[in-house]
């Protein structure tokens, strides 16, 4: 298995580089002076150029060619020192080195981004982890329950409700909960408190998850081995817990494990709206205030976490299903 994991990690490298390449292209093709102006709107030209220089944005983009040393670069200066540097002394490769060493630079307010992430991730987790656990537990329990009462009025009613719940967009839950529990009932603080965002997150996720798990369970229930079990006289609850649940683990794991790494990235609107100073809020603020360095890091981090999620899912298959062998 170790060889498999190592091989998987090696496979992800090209994707990693690809993602870096795309984010680089997205964020570094702008005029560096325009980027500087975001940081210092009123500053005179000389200060902007100095900023560009201090942030290495005057360097050649991809490769450092000998001709670059005697051209006037965007910061309005010639840089003869470039002649003595290697061909990889460029924004692309310097940035790549920063990113693989997890040194993400500083944001608009000159705060180290890595520090902000370390500071903010626990806040995201404090909302996302309980919300995630509650949603998964509730939806598995509810869908087993519905599988048990399949094709009854209760099942039909539940399908109606869950489809309705899936169709309502998150902002509606958000405004309803904020108004209902916060403003009208005055039960919970509307700001800086985890209860409401957890509630909204559970409500918004529940409908879809229940529908999904119910389908997974029903698919198993119609299998031949279940009929055999029933013929042997296994009770209906025994069938559900001993046969259906373990055999449905693969699709469940796929959806659960895949979303694990994303718990730390938090939720954009929930955190913004309820004042949770987590990663989602960080992304929101960065987009709002055009903090390109932070946006770049977050995009990159998203891709990175996705790859970790995929890897974890594969590993979880082996643990859940002895038939799966990874080579």
């Amino acid at each position: 298995m170790l060889t498999y994991i190592i091989r998987r990690i090696i496979y992800t490298l090209p994707i990693w580089i690809g993602v870096y390449g795309i984010t680089f292209a997205l964020f570094h093709m702008r005029d560096p002076i325009a980027i500087a102006r975001v940081h210092m709107p009123q500053a005179p030209d000389a200060a902007l150029k100095a900023w560009v220089r201090n942030n290495n944005l005057h360097l050649p983009r991809f490769v450092n060619l000998p001709a670059d040393a005697d051209t006037v670069l965007v910061d309005g200066k010639k840089h003869p020192e470039l002649a003595s540097k290697s061909i990889f002394y460029s924004q692309f490769f310097l940035g790549f080195r920063e990113i693989i060493t997890f040194d993400f630079g500083v944001d608009k307010n000159r705060q180290p981004i890595s520090e902000s992430i370390a500071e903010r991730a626990p806040y995201s987790l404090s909302v996302m982890l309980p919300a995630f656990l509650i949603t998964v537990t509730l939806s598995v329990v509810m869908s087993l329950f519905l599988a048990y009462f399949r094709e009854t009025g209760l099942d039909v009613g539940a399908v109606l409700i869950t489809v309705a719940m899936m169709s309502i967009p998150v902002p509606v839950y958000l405004l309803l909960c904020n108004w209902g529990f916060g403003k009208y009932l005055k039960l919970v603080p509307v700001y800086n408190h985890v209860l409401l965002p957890i509630l909204v997150s559970v409500l918004a996720g529940l409908g879809g998850q229940v529908r999904f798990y119910r389908t997974v369970f029903l698919e198993q229930i119609e299998q031949d081995y279940i009929r055999t079990a029933r013929a042997k006289g296994v009770s209906e609850s025994g069938i559900l817990f001993k046969h259906v649940l373990p055999n449905s683990l693969i699709p469940i794991l796929t959806s659960v494990v895949m979303s694990l790494p994303f718990l730390i990235t938090g939720s954009l609107i929930l955190e913004h709206f309820f004042g949770i100073p987590g990663m989602g809020d960080m992304m929101y603020t960065a987009i709002y205030s055009q903090d390109f360095q932070v946006i770049k890091v977050m995009v990159y981090l998203g891709a990175f976490l996705y790859m970790i999620g995929a890897l974890l899912t594969d590993i979880s298959y082996i643990l859940a299903d002895p038939r799966v062998v990874l080579e």
Partner: protein
């Protein structure tokens, strides 16, 4: 079942919608900001948000009287008002500006000082503030106020720039430090408490530098200590403080806590004198009290709009603005609605010292046409725009000078700054576009207008377009993000672009400089407007003391601008604020800086009222019972019914 009911009842009882858990003890103001301040480093503070906090942390040599209008300056850290005179240096005579600061004032305790105890404030700290204003690498706010005015200041700026470049190259951190060791020729230390500036010209506005946060004393050892390295925060995040409050806590994106500075000078008192109106408004109740009055100020960072209003409504914020969407529920005919009056809410309004306008690019061949500019300016119905899109929160601008400043006259009418469709049509024809037809293309005249993209402004932007469409002028909206708009301004790639100015200091020169020809090179004169008469009048008035002679010149300048129409005047915004009955009356100050020390509140009253306002309504309990009935009952019934069948 019974256990469930008890648990539920306990849950409801334990529920508390106070976002602070409980109000902290003592007099603590609860306020909010839409985002973290950019910086609290006095040399870098320039934006309104940062200044709203930083100005309370840093004491300045001079400040404004709290109650006096029009604004008037008084000594704060300084012993007396500045002395002006003349002095000779290197054979040339210079104007001097001189003041002394009080002895014995101390910084708030901080580990950047020897022994962690705040040391005495000396004039060197103010000289250091002047030097930092010359340091381009930190984007200093005060630079334009001193540049070209103080002897040797610009040379010092260049020296610092070179030093920074050299330091980056040689990786030697002592090079910049050495420049800071050296003196600026025009900045003289007469003794440990006295500063003398040599000015290259008559420049009374120099005093404004020392009323702004950027002119506050800055201890060099602390600026160098908090350098963002070795686990220490940057000076932006952890400045040494000398003001009425010190920075107790700054938890990014969450909360900032300012606490009373025990080392603050003890000679700062609430004013004893005011007008009859001030007296009637309860503004003299605190007369003679030592400042600051409150113990702490909690500033919540609340980025989304709706929670601010909810929190204010529940009493968890002492003061708030009025969001657009609830404006009509709160204010009716410029008065509070009965519901809010009953709760004892107070409404205050203040016309900002700001002007919004649209800038014509006078380097653009089409926009050089004066009659066209006048015609375009006459097409916009500002009153309708303010009513429909801004809840009437603005005063149509007639000149670039905002209310409350010398040169603003209520009765003044700019002949081209109001809606006049007939004259607009005549002028449009005279400009060479009869009926709005561009003879070059045979179609409607097309004018591009660059503005920031804002999803919330779709209908306002549609209003802009339709206003000009009526005259067959095709206003092409070019929406872009803010940096792109700035970049287009800088590169003069626009025909019309949005613009605006908030006063740095209450002097009309601060606004009139925006149209001064030679300022084209800097970011002030965005449209490259140039009129020799205006320019010479500007040079005459800029250093004059306020008075009839200066007013006469300003009037002439206003006439010239009205006729040339280099900008389409929009409006001066009005800020509406609400405060709760436990918050003591206060007077809004146009500069909005260093005002927190005058605030007061009654925490007991707050506790009582907030508890009253935040009881769960009876309907709430009924709603819960109903929900349980609707959700649980069908399940119970179904389980009973179908379990039997399945078995």
């Amino acid at each position: 079942m019974r256990a469930g009911v008890i648990f539920f009842a306990l849950f409801l009882a334990a529920c508390n919608n106070n976002p602070y858990g409980q109000f902290p003890p003592g007099k603590v103001i609860m306020s909010n900001l839409p985002d973290d301040p950019r910086t609290l480093d006095p040399a870098r503070v320039g934006d309104t948000q940062s200044n709203a906090i930083a100005s309370n942390l840093h004491d300045t040599p001079f400040e404004y009287y709290y109650l006096k209008r029009p604004l008037e300056i008084k000594p704060a850290m300084a012993v007396s008002m500045p002395r002006t005179g003349a002095a000779v240096s290197g054979g040339t005579q210079y104007r001097t500006f001189e003041f002394s600061i009080k002895k014995g004032m101390r910084y708030a305790d901080d580990s950047c000082f020897a022994g962690g105890k705040g040391r005495e404030i000396k004039i060197d700290d103010i000289i250091f503030a002047v030097k930092r204003a010359a340091d381009n690498s930190i984007d200093p706010f005060g630079l334009p106020l001193l540049s070209g005015k103080v002897l040797g200041f610009d040379e010092y700026t260049t020296r610092l720039e070179k030093a920074h470049a050299e330091e980056a190259e040689k990786r030697d951190s002592s090079i910049v430090s050495k420049v800071f060791d050296s003196e600026i020729p025009g900045v003289r230390k007469l003794d440990d408490y006295t500063l003398q500036l040599l000015l290259t010209e008559d420049y009374p506005q120099i005093i404004f530098f020392f009323t702004l946060t950027t002119g506050s004393p800055q201890p060099r050892e602390c600026v160098e200590y908090y350098n963002g390295r070795n686990g220490r925060p940057a000076y932006d995040r952890h400045p040494a403080t000398s003001g009425a409050f010190r920075l107790k806590e700054w938890h990014s994106n969450y909360r900032i806590v300012l606490a009373r500075n025990p080392n603050y000078r003890s000679d700062d008192f609430y004013p004893r004198e005011g007008t009859e109106e001030d007296k009637a408004n309860g503004l003299l109740l605190a007369a003679g009290r030592q400042l600051p009055i409150v113990d702490e100020i909690w500033i919540q960072i609340i980025k989304a709009g709706p929670p601010v209003w909810t929190l204010f409504d529940q009493g968890y914020l002492d003061r708030a603005g009025i969001p657009l969407e609830v404006f009509n529920q709160v204010v009716l005919n410029q008065e509070l609605t009965p519901e809010f009056k009953e709760r004892g809410t107070r409404l205050d309004t203040e016309i900002d010292q700001a002007t919004y306008y649209w800038v014509f690019n006078l380097t653009d061949p089409v926009m050089k046409n004066k009659k066209l500019r006048q015609a375009l300016s006459l097409m916009l119905d500002r009153r309708e725009m303010l009513e429909r899109f801004f809840n009437g929160r603005g005063v149509p601008a007639m000149s670039i000078i905002p209310p409350g400043m010398e040169g603003y006259e209520d009765e003044y009418k700019n002949p081209y700054a109001a809606y006049d469709p007939d004259r607009a049509r005549v002028l449009l024809a005279e400009a060479g576009y009869p009926g709005g037809i561009d003879p070059a293309t045979g179609r409607a005249l097309r004018v591009s207008f660059t503005l920031t993209n804002s999803p919330g402004s779709t209908s306002l932007y549609a209003f802009y377009r339709s206003s000009f469409e009526k005259f067959n002028v095709d206003l092409k909206l070019e929406e872009a993000d803010w940096p792109t708009v700035l970049q287009k301004k800088y590169k003069k790639e626009f025909q019309i672009i949005v613009g605006g100015w908030h006063a740095d200091y209450p002097d009309p020169q601060n606004f009139l400089q925006l149209l001064y020809g030679p300022n084209t090179a800097s970011s002030y004169n965005e449209g490259s407007y140039r009129n020799p008469t205006y320019d010479s009048l500007y040079l005459q008035m800029k250093n004059m003391p306020p008075g009839p002679a200066r007013l006469a010149i300003i009037r002439k300048m206003k006439e010239i601008v009205a006729d040339d129409t280099p900008v389409i005047m929009q409006f001066h915004p009005i800020t509406y604020g609400l405060s709760h009955p436990w918050f003591s009356p206060f007077k809004t100050h146009p500069t909005n800086s260093n005002q927190l020390k005058f605030r007061d509140l009654d925490p007991e009253k707050r506790k009582t009222l907030v508890a009253q306002w935040n009881r769960m309504p009876l309907a709430g309990y009924l709603l819960f019972a109903f929900l349980i009935l609707v959700l649980v009952l069908p399940v119970v019934i179904a389980v009973r019914k179908y379990s039997r069948r399945l078995r």
